[in-house]
Subunit: 175 residues, 2 copies
């Protein structure tokens, strides 16, 4: 939602990255530039592997290690934000100039819906205060069914892919 019509040009983002690198004595290299470009072409939420894929697809090869070393820089300078869903891999989203928001993840189709979270921020502060905790950030994730899936399949919770799985002889639920 917020990632469409991003309020900043790619040039601005490039400049922000170069400034960040300069200020930290890190070099502006071809590999880092290409990684940033690939990242800017990706929409919404993505993982490291997709950045690699995007790079290979454009014929601009960058080593896996370099991508993994560059992503934290982009996070550190505010262009990306690391988001962790209920999976082992890290996901990233664009955060340059974007307001804070949280996510709803559909258990069936995997769709990720963003929502602005002023109320969540307020609630966080209230709760933190109550426990003498100094909040720096928060993460809130709702899981359930998106509108389409709740119509198609009002009860099922199983991920979409498992529908094709052939029934087992036993009564076991484990996949």
């Amino acid at each position: 939602m917020t990632s469409l019509n991003r309020p900043h040009t790619t040039d601005e983002v490039h400049e922000a990255f170069r400034k960040y690198l300069r200020d930290h004595g890190i070099k502006w290299t071809k590999a880092r530039q290409r990684t940033l470009e690939a990242v800017l072409q990706l929409k919404e939420h993505f993982e490291a592997e997709q950045v690699l894929h995007q790079l290979r697809q454009g014929g601009r090869n960058v080593g896996k290690a370099t991508v993994y070393r560059t992503l934290p820089l982009l996070v550190d300078c505010g262009i990306l934000k690391q988001v962790r869903f209920d999976v082992k891999q890290a996901h990233y989203e664009h955060s340059y100039g974007e307001g804070p928001h949280d996510h709803m993840v559909c258990r069936r189709c995997g769709r990720i819906i963003e929502f602005a979270s002023e109320e969540v921020v307020e609630l966080s502060s209230r709760i933190a205060q109550r426990h003498h905790f100094h909040v720096v950030g928060h993460r809130m994730q709702l899981s359930g069914l998106c509108w389409e899936c709740s119509i198609v399949c009002p009860v099922a919770m199983a991920p979409l892919e498992s529908e094709a799985a052939p029934p087992k002889k036993s009564k076991r639920k484990r996949k």
Copy 2:
């Protein structure tokens, strides 16, 4: 907080597991029994490796694979809940008969503080309704500094271990 004085005896939990297994045509075996016992001895939040460790310590050896195969069963039958913090490994907590709650994670000492979350649940519903989303569950995590750490170290965000790291020659921020 809620894991202390759990409102159910270990017998009740055992029985719940056995019933779950029976109902699903899964066998009640020594390995699964031992895994459950180890899990019940662990307090608060733990990871798979700690279950293994607990088992070895008690001389009741169970294969790593078996533990990894049993934990999802315990989650599925409601005895455990999988919780993912900002790390790659999964963590688990006891959920049998416990009310919903969320977590605050201290960035410095790693302490995890639980808080009851009726307000969070309410807010979830309100937000979901607004987006025509059918919520099934939520996850909220505040990160920041716990009371002790915010006194010791009012500004630092770096994890505790990095304090011992020797300063590098360059101006770079990366570890």
